[in-house]
């Protein structure tokens, strides 16, 4: 088992079971509020190979309709020291600390949990798409099947069961790391402390909680360049999976 996964499971186990018996360990963890984690993701772009395994795993795990994406790995060709290089940018909901999508929902269908995960109650959502418009990161969309707002949920159903989100679980390069930023010993906390991480569009003050290691400056905002050839998403007729 990967070290980040082991550490993650240890975090979850300690959170949901009785407090750690070992005194030294308890003292070290006393500062953090172990009852309320704050889930974040670190994306190590040095390790992303653009295989899209995360895109597919997420799509399968969450029954996302074909042509729509809760997460996607954008790929760019950038110039570095006069040479063309591939740059990957996995995009997903940033579960912002200051989310612009939540205050605009007229029926309060979308909300942020105490652990930071932003979710949509799609039994209440009227599909007005105001939140879709409000998100600066193209994280949200109207699900063609449910006709309600949809987005990455950090696989909250898996996290509550003590598992990792599907994209993290499947990441071939180990580029996606998930954990509790409130725990100073978590892999995510260590990475954020050791590296100069960047979030997307910081000037918008959304305080995104997906931290990128090795993000090129040119990819941090709206991309200015030659557009990709995919100008339309194909709409495949698809039956419901159940």
């Amino acid at each position: 088992m990967d070290s980040s996964r082991r550490k993650f499971l240890a975090t979850v186990a300690a959170t949901v079971t009785t407090p750690v018996a070992d005194r030294a360990s308890a003292a070290r963890h006393a500062r953090t509020n172990r009852d309320k984690p704050r889930w974040v993701m670190v994306v190590d772009l040095r390790k992303c190979i653009g295989c899209q395994a995360c895109t597919v795993a997420c799509s399968t795990e969450n029954r996302v309709p074909v042509g729509q994406y809760r997460t996607l790995v954008n790929q760019y060709e950038v110039e570095q020291e006069g040479k063309p290089r591939s740059a990957m940018l996995p995009r997903l909901c940033n579960h912002c600390e200051n989310p612009p999508c939540i205050p605009v929902c007229p029926v309060q269908a979308t909300y942020q949990r105490s652990d930071g995960i932003v979710v949509v109650d799609n039994t209440r959502c009227v599909g007005c798409a105001y939140c879709v418009q409000a998100c600066p990161y193209d994280a949200r969309f109207i699900n063609h099947e449910t006709q309600t707002a949809d987005k990455c949920t950090f696989c909250v159903h898996r996290v509550e069961a003590g598992l990792l989100p599907a994209c993290v679980e499947t990441c071939v390069g180990g580029a996606r790391i998930f954990g509790d930023i409130k725990d100073p010993d978590s892999e995510v906390s260590r990475l954020i402390a050791s590296f100069d991480t960047k979030g997307l569009k910081p000037e918008l003050k959304t305080r995104p909680q997906v931290y990128y290691i090795g993000l090129d400056n040119r990819l941090q905002h709206k991309i200015e360049g030659v557009p990709g050839p995919w100008t339309k998403t194909a709409n495949f007729e698809q039956e419901a999976l159940s």
């Binding site: 060709e77 269908a109 418009q133 409000a134 193209d138 309600t148 040119r218 709206k222 360049g225 100008t231």
Partner: protein, 340 residues
Amino acid sequence: MNGNLIELISVAQESTWNSWAVQYFFFIGLSIGGVLLTTPGLLFRRPGWTSVTRLALLVAVTAGLVAPVALLADLHQPARFYRFYLNFTPTSWMSWGAFLLPTYLLSLSLFALQALYRDTDGRQPLTRAAALVTSLLAAGIALYTGSEMGILISRELWQVGWLVPGYLISGLAGATGLALVLNTLFSLASRADNRLLSRSLGLLLLLSALWVAAWVSAGYLNLSGSGAALLRLMVEYQPTESLLLWIGLGLLLPLLLSLFNHPLLHVMTGLLALFGAWMVRWAMFIGGQGIPKNGAGFYPFDLPPGTEGVLGILGSFGLWLAALIVIRTLLSHYKPRAWA
């Protein structure tokens, strides 16, 4: 375009506010424009505005009847609209709008009953009061529709400071244009009314032109991010829709034609102004959503032929026409002096 950065794998983001949203903004813009067009006659007591006031109110009511239908149609779960009324959300302009819209429509209905049926000469104080209240609510509608789009930080083009006056002026221009068309076509048309409407339309179109010029200039001078986005939309992304159709056919041509006083030209001017009011909203919505939040280039929009697209647009105009026929027939029957 920076040739040194190429997007290899990307996906065009769908637009989620489509034809129906444009139709709602268009018809509600016409409705509030119609209401505000009653103020010279009823609130400011300007002479010669009596029959124009009635016509403006007719425009306001018929457009106001179509607007909520279009609004409901744009929801992806329209049967759940009652949720708006169970969950008032003060942080959401759309929530405010959900309460404001029926209030405005109720006020408008009562105003119409008063001014089109009970007091067609507009002399009673109650008529004046109804005009005032409905005008204030109409201003509220202008504020909420512009703010709904404009407060979003995600789209640079949509800015409250530009959208609110823009929707207001273009709505007024559209309503005046429609009143001009109706006045020319109705059997009771008077040339004096046509001249009045034509002059007013010219003035409103001039204001619209100044608004666009100011916005574009602010963008050109790098004073406004939304202006810069608008400039890009016009020059780089959608020159046909923005420059030819919206500015050319929808703004400058009717402005020019409004200077001439021929009935046939009046119809053309009015229709073009109406088209302009529609086109500005199309440019803001569809053009605005075509500008990527994160990607490069521009996302093209496919107008579907069915009820979500062309048929929907035509259908809403058909509904408006039906409302006009029904209401005018009733008015002709019960108030022949004013309407037959």
